[in-house]
């Protein structure tokens, strides 16, 4: 089911085109990481999708509803977390969530249970009677997510949720996001800190100078940008025999050998890896372990940058 469909979205601020002809779709359950350098247009794109900024041209449909025609209904169905925000400082966490739930028409009898659930989810149950102004930055960020979750939106739009957080707060936040991703929530999350996305994104969109340069699953983009996989093979016996054996296997080359572990670069997909395993075993190499060295988004991002020099 299609949750978001953007068609040629464009936003101009005077002579500057912050977002230029952006088109993409997000299916239910996808977690899309929107990555790009500062000033790429990520925040503008998210604010347009949250119906906070009208597009200069193009349109988008969220849950089938046109962004320009049904902004109120769209706001009811999404949860948008801005990059810099604060909560209502004069309310306690519980009051803030109660207010939000009522504003989103959550049935009254469900509100207390829903509040307790989301507070437990973001690990702030013990703070529920504290004023929002007494929260640390990391807690505010988690509370921001709780505010979104209380009305169970169809689409989460998160703008740099980890910016300005210390490492522990960042790990806490990442765990919450991973949990949301595991529960098949649909999320579009922007960040320029790629590592924080790499663990739970199913898709990535790489944005630069207002345009989406790449959009696809992490696997697709990896295939596209980094056709060579790095495999780690742990062997029993002498690893120095392996390079000689591999000379007969096409598309594989030894990168380095460390103790009993050989790092290989292999062109091709998972089938090639399976063939390589069979080949090594067939040639008398005792393979104890064969794993793929996963590249995270940072590597992909850099690979794309190098390939197209888009971020120069």
């Amino acid at each position: 089911m299609q949750v978001l469909e953007a068609q040629r979205l464009r936003k101009e601020f005077g002579p500057l085109a912050a977002v230029q002809d952006v088109s993409f779709t997000i299916e239910q359950g996808q977690v899309v990481g929107l990555i790009g350098p500062n000033g790429a247009g990520k925040t503008t794109l998210l604010r347009m999708l949250a119906a906070l900024l009208p597009p200069t041209d193009g349109t988008a449909a969220i849950m089938g509803m046109d962004l320009c025609r049904h902004p109120l209904e769209i706001r009811r169905r999404i949860g948008y977390l801005p990059d810099f925000f604060n909560l209502y400082n004069d309310l306690t966490l519980w009051e803030c969530l109660d207010f939000t739930a009522r504003a989103y028409s959550v049935p009254s009898d469900q509100i207390p249970r829903r509040i307790d659930t989301v507070l437990e989810y973001v690990n702030l149950t013990g703070k529920k009677h504290d004023l929002c102004r007494h929260l640390s930055r990391g807690m505010v960020q988690r509370m921001g997510l709780a505010v979104l979750m209380v009305h169970e939106p169809d689409l989460y739009l998160l703008d740099e949720p980890a910016s300005g957080l210390d490492p522990i707060a960042r790990i806490n936040l990442r765990n919450i996001l991973k949990r949301l991703a595991d529960e098949k929530k649909t999320i579009l999350i922007s960040s320029h800190i790629l590592h924080e996305l790499s663990e739970f994104c199913t898709h990535i969109a790489i944005m630069d100078q207002g345009r989406i340069r790449y959009f696809g699953s992490v696997e697709q983009i990896r295939e596209l940008c980094m056709p060579v996989r790095i495999l780690r093979v742990r062997v029993l016996g002498d690893p120095q025999k392996v390079p000689a054996v591999l000379r007969e296997f096409p598309n594989a080359a030894v990168k380095d050998i460390c103790d009993t572990v050989i790092r290989l670069s292999v062109k091709g997909g998972l089938e090639t890896a399976a063939q390589l395993n069979a080949f090594l075993v067939g040639h008398g190499v005792s393979v104890a372990e064969l794993t793929e060295e996963k590249k995270d988004l940072e590597d992909l991002f850099l690979a794309i940058s190098a390939k197209e020099n888009v971020f120069s």
Binding site: R8, E12, G14, P15, D21, A50, L52, P54, T56, D57, L72, E73, R75, R76, Y80, P82, F84, F85, N86, L87, Y88, N89, D90, L91, T92, E95, D98, F99, T100, R102, A103, Y104, S105, V147
Partner: protein
């Protein structure tokens, strides 16, 4: 509470630990007023023989002042501070994202933010009524004053919220502004009120005589309705102008209808020509101001041009949706209404048409400068300084020159001077010379504006080709 925003303020303002503090402050203030009056009366009664009801009337006026401070100063400044404070706290996006209707947001902010004040005002109304009745003020007069207090308060709250939606967040709470406004415009209300309570005044409105305070409240309620509609529009369509085209024209028409009600009873008065031209000039105020309220921005033009068929797109398509066209329509409503009024006043239309023609040339200069600002603002934001300077010069230069050369007639080259000059000489003298400099002055802006329209259309065509 059905409105979540009221509930939100109920949480933050009516916490038991702070509610009693406000309660004590209010009771202390009321107690202070009563004790000071009691002591004053006890001392004064030895010196001056007073009627027994007079001290109560004095108390009534004091509670009216108190009520004014609550409803005309504190409530509007509270209301106007909501949005800037949210912006400063970076919490405004949450309010914008709430899927509440615009009406819920307006009612929630106006009532919710003023929950405490309204509670105090409700208690105050009890004292107001009690001391008013003991001070021999009639029920009818009490109700009129109460209506006036509420209608001014409502209007100021809605206006303050409206202005805050487009103001800089750095402004914060506009308490000081409302306090200054109160001391400038609010205080003269009290001598008038005291006079009015002694001798009830009526005004004529079409065929009826209505109490003065009701008339003032009615006019304020008319503006409150429009302020409410303006808020509703800006909460719903944040980037639109305050008035839609239909809204602007309806406002103009209803304003003229309302205004004419106060002039109509004098259609057969001795100086009815002067009264008629007074009506026409008063009716011009929204003609001049509405184009700024209904102003379509450059971005709006781009958005509108998206709907044009790409092949046949022309400058005319844009022009017929542009600000000057709406402004001319508003002018035509004024013209039509004034012609009808001219007939009702049994006056010749010829001098009025001459006057309206000259006024139109002044209007063209104003519209030219306004539209020039609109179409160039996105690329040259400082143009507003230039056009602002030209407007100030246009309004006052001829006044200054007429003073320098000691020649009154020169002032007719300023729009303000022209209206003042004609209002005292109508229908005998309608000066025509301002037409020529006006037509000359609006030529350059018109050329620039059409050049810019053409540029916008060409850009749209280029964009359409690219996509």
């Amino acid at each position: 509470m059905a409105n979540p925003l009221i509930r939100r303020y109920q949480y933050s303002l009516l916490r038991p630990e702070q509610g009693w503090i406000y309660g004590v402050v209010y009771v202390s203030l009321v107690g202070l007023i009563l004790i000071v009056n009691l002591l004053f009366y006890a001392r004064q009664s030895v010196l001056i023989q007073q009627e027994p009801w007079q001290p109560f009337r004095s108390l009534f006026f004091q509670f009216t002042v108190f009520q004014c401070l609550l409803l005309w100063v504190l409530a509007p400044s509270n209301t106007g501070g909501v949005i800037p404070n949210l912006m400063l706290q970076k919490a405004y996006d949450f309010l914008r994202l709430l899927p509440l209707s615009a009406v819920q947001k307006i009612v929630g902010i106006v009532l919710g933010r003023n929950l405490l004040l309204l509670s105090a005002a409700a208690a105050n109304f009890l004292f107001f009524a009690m001391f008013g009745l003991l001070g021999r003020i009639s029920w009818s007069m009490l109700l009129q004053i109460a209506l006036l207090l509420l209608s001014v308060g409502l209007f100021l709250c809605l206006l303050s919220l409206l202005l805050s939606l487009r103001s800089s967040p750095k402004r914060g709470n506009p308490f000081l502004l409302f306090l200054v406004l109160f001391f400038t415009f609010g205080l003269p209300f009290f001598p008038a009120l005291i006079y009015n309570t002694q001798e009830a005044r009526d005004v004529s409105f079409y065929f009826w005589r209505i109490p003065l305070l009701i008339a003032v409240s009615g006019v304020l309620l008319y503006f409150s309705v429009w302020a409410f509609l303006g808020n509703r529009r800006w909460f719903t369509y944040e980037y639109e102008s305050l008035f839609s085209w239909k809204g602007a024209m309806l406002f103009q028409l209803l304003f003229l209808l309302l205004l004419f009600g106060f002039f109509y009873p004098y259609r057969q008065a001795e100086q009815h020509e002067k009264i008629f031209i007074g009506f026409c000039i008063a009716g011009l105020v929204p003609v001049v101001l509405l184009p700024t309220g209904a102003c379509r921005t450059y971005e709006k033009y781009l958005e509108l041009s998206r709907g044009f068929p790409t092949e046949k797109m022309s400058v005319f398509d844009l022009f017929r949706r542009s600000n000057p066209v709406l402004s001319v329509l508003i002018y035509l409503i004024w013209l039509g209404f004034c012609l009808a009024a001219c007939r009702l006043f049994a006056l010749s239309a010829a001098p009025f048409l001459l006057f309206a023609g000259v006024v139109f040339t002044f209007y063209l200069v104003w519209l030219g400068l306004l539209e020039l600002t609109v179409v160039f603002y996105n690329t040259h934001s400082k143009i507003i300084l230039l056009t602002g300077f030209v407007i100030v010069l246009y309004l006052f230069l001829s006044f200054i020159l007429s003073g320098l050369f000691d020649w009154d007639y020169l002032s007719v080259f300023s729009p303000l001077g022209y209206l003042v000059y004609v209002s005292s000489r109508y229908p005998g003298e309608i000066p025509l010379p301002p037409v020529f400099p006006n037509l000359f002055l609006c030529t350059a802006p018109i050329i620039q504006i059409f050049g810019r329209y053409k540029w916008m259309i060409d850009t749209r065509k280029a964009l359409a080709k690219v996509s």
